[in-house]
Amino acid sequence: MVTAADARVRARIADELVRAAADRDDLIDVAVGTVGSPIGELFVAMTSKGLACVGFDDQDRAALEDRFAEDLSPRVVASARATDDVRRQLDEYFGGARRRFEVGIDHRLMSPFVRKVMAQTAKVPFGEVSTYGAVAKGIHHPEAARAVGAALGQNPIPIVLPCHRIIGASGNLTGYAGGLHRKDFLLRLEGDPMLFPG
């Protein structure tokens, strides 16, 4: 009478009606979307409080969405409109037309310590770098450089909260949850070409 295959095709088209109506009726708590970038497609999640997450394309997206459902709300729905502003800002950043992000932040995916570390990290401006030790000192835990490194690794909003600007005291990039090649790219993008030749 109606094959499963026909119903599937038709459902996928009608899904767009559901998403549009959900957006119109304000029923989306976590709006998700993607934006292309030179370091791979980025996945973004916006809530009424602000940007909650930026994910890289090699991250487990299903696991991220599970986390949103658990810690934010299960009403996770794709919305081009609700994610438009942050996607555009990321575009501008990678195009060299933006040095700071103007977007509210939803801190709910961060532990209190991660939050503190990220607040300190956010003080490091575009084009500059700082060290794990300096961030530790900044939050009045000078002995906690390692813990700072671990906290930066848990940053749910990379790029926008610039954990890539924190490097080792020796000048080594040290580590990055998104992979060192991405950290290197971001620092070159922001950096003085004299300091980051090639």
């Binding site: 009726d25 459902a69 009403r75 794709a78």
Partner: protein
Amino acid sequence: MGTRTPPPFERFLDEHGPTVMRFLVVAVGPEHADDAYQETFLSALRAYPRVRDDGRLDRWILRIASRTAIDHHRARARRPEPRATVPDRPVAAPEPPDAALLAAVAALPPKQRAAVALRHLLDRPYPEIAEILGCSEEAARANVRAGLATLRERV
């Protein structure tokens, strides 16, 4: 086995959308299935923050879809056919190979129509049909039986 937060809604939609659509194409008819689909999942989304995943979300969404289908017929019975503007969608209305059967199904009382769709299209066992339709298993059987008898007569 405890109850948990339901899956992210996008995954829920992805997983259950095709079954719900298949049910609605028969339960409300191809021309109203998209509207009913949207209404079904919007109702689900409204209730979603309070829902617990007890492993029976498939029945939960079919229950909402069944209610939507039955309400849809009640609403239409009250007013004369409002020729809704159905936007042209290329795959929306594939040629039904069995138009006579669809027409006969469309003439069934709404609850029988939903019961027949659940049993013979989606292959649901009677205890589940009873749960979805919110009636006893016996009533579920009776609805399917009555629906099938009418279909046999007409096709």
